[in-house]
């Protein structure tokens, strides 16, 4: 499983790329592999408030609907519009073209709660 070194991870299999005060969020390679064929993605509304650890998006495969949890708290400032017509980007390119939404981080301290790449790799048994 691909676990890039430049990202932080939530135990619930979201990744976070910190860009200044913005957190870019997606699901991990491990998560897309477990979910398999993604056929629908429901992103949070821009300007909505999300809370760390609370569900804020839904990813649906043929078989099931899975909640996606906000890794940090803040306001949603952007969502990946391409996912509505190309949900398979989550499978094909989970760390780049498959990004899901961007949060303006309200409490930078929460980033410290996230897992390092090594810890996440251990968490998924990789």
């Amino acid at each position: 499983m691909n676990v890039p070194k430049n990202l932080k991870y939530a135990k619930s299999h979201e990744w976070v790329r910190v860009e200044g005060d913005i957190a870019v969020v997606g699901i991990t390679d491990h998560a897309q592999h477990e979910l398999t064929d993604v056929v629908y993605v429901e992103t949070p509304a821009v300007d909505s408030r999300v809370d760390a650890g609370k569900e804020c998006a839904v990813v649906e495969s043929v078989k099931s609907a899975s909640d996606i949890y906000a890794p940090v708290s803040g306001d949603v400032v952007a969502v990946n519009e391409e996912l509505s017509s190309a949900p398979e980007l989550l499978n094909q390119d989970p760390y780049d073209k498959g990004w899901m939404f961007k949060i303006k981080i309200s409490d930078p301290g929460e980033l410290g709660e996230l897992l390092s790449p090594d810890d996440y790799a251990h968490h998924i048994g990789a």
Binding site: T36, Y40, E42, V62, K63, A65, S84
Partner: protein
Amino acid sequence: MHGTKTLKRTPLYATHLEWGAKMVPFGGWEMPVQYSGILEEHAAVRERVGLFDISHMGEFLVAGPNAEAALNELLSNDLRKISVGQAQYTLLCDERGGIIDDLIAYRVQPSVFLLVVNASNIEKDFTSMSAHASKAVVFDNASDTMAALALQGPCAVKVLPEAATVSHFSVVRLGILGRQCWVARTGYTGEDGFEIMCDAADAPALWEELLKRGKPFNIKPCGLGARDTLRLEVCYPLHGNDITEETTPMEAGLGKFVSFEKGPFVGRDVLVEQKEKGVSRKLVAFTMTGKSPPPRPHYPILADDRKVGEITSGTQSPTLGAGIGMGYVEATEARIGAPIGIEIRGKTFPAMIAKKPILKRKQ
């Protein structure tokens, strides 16, 4: 979902792991839900050929001079309509007309029937049939000694040319690799293909042989995930979802598999009444008409913003690329072409009641 009871394994369990299957609990069994992916496996069956392990399904043998008469008092359809080598879809109902199971009955000898029943209902079916049988028959639950494979798709006949002369809904005794099997031209995918019932010990060799022969056709081993999307596109009901003991054949639109002329059978009184007076709800098929999340079981079905029913099966159709499903709605709302709404996470998405099957099979 995960019971504490130990899950049963088919004779192909080790083979599935070798082929990279993702295993899940289903009806008391540990079964492959997918190998390469549901979409890829689904496409393989629609366009070429796929191979399924269906050994979790139950097999009963009913034999003896009274077999036909005894089964005709237990099952909804009329076994007098099929001769040796023919198959019949039929229902096992309770006294209230509720569907205990749906099954295929094969007349393999003049007075011997092979019944293939759903995995999770094996014990319930056996108990119910034993309790209601009024005539002496030999009734053997062969589920543990038999395995079954389903070879499905337009190229299935090229993989199994020795069965090319078997007609649709017929069954023959055939040797494959020198192993004697019942080979039936039946299936649960809406495609041409075969179901192969064999001795449990022969299943791994037959599995490998069919995959080897299927290589030129890019055959895929397929799991229960694709089995479900394939059957739902052609509106075959799934027992436990679309038909249960709380629903009847008349409500489910399965009246053509109920014979009222053959004499008494369990559930007949209720079904006759429903046939004459009509039913209050009907199982309909629907397609989503706009972009929406995939419809799923238990989502409310709305008409004019009023809840008129509930989804029993739903998915994103891999062939159509749109949400499809089935569910019971109030009979007055069950009009083909009628606009309905599906409520998904508090929002209503537009859909339309469709004629069954949703996907018409290419001839």
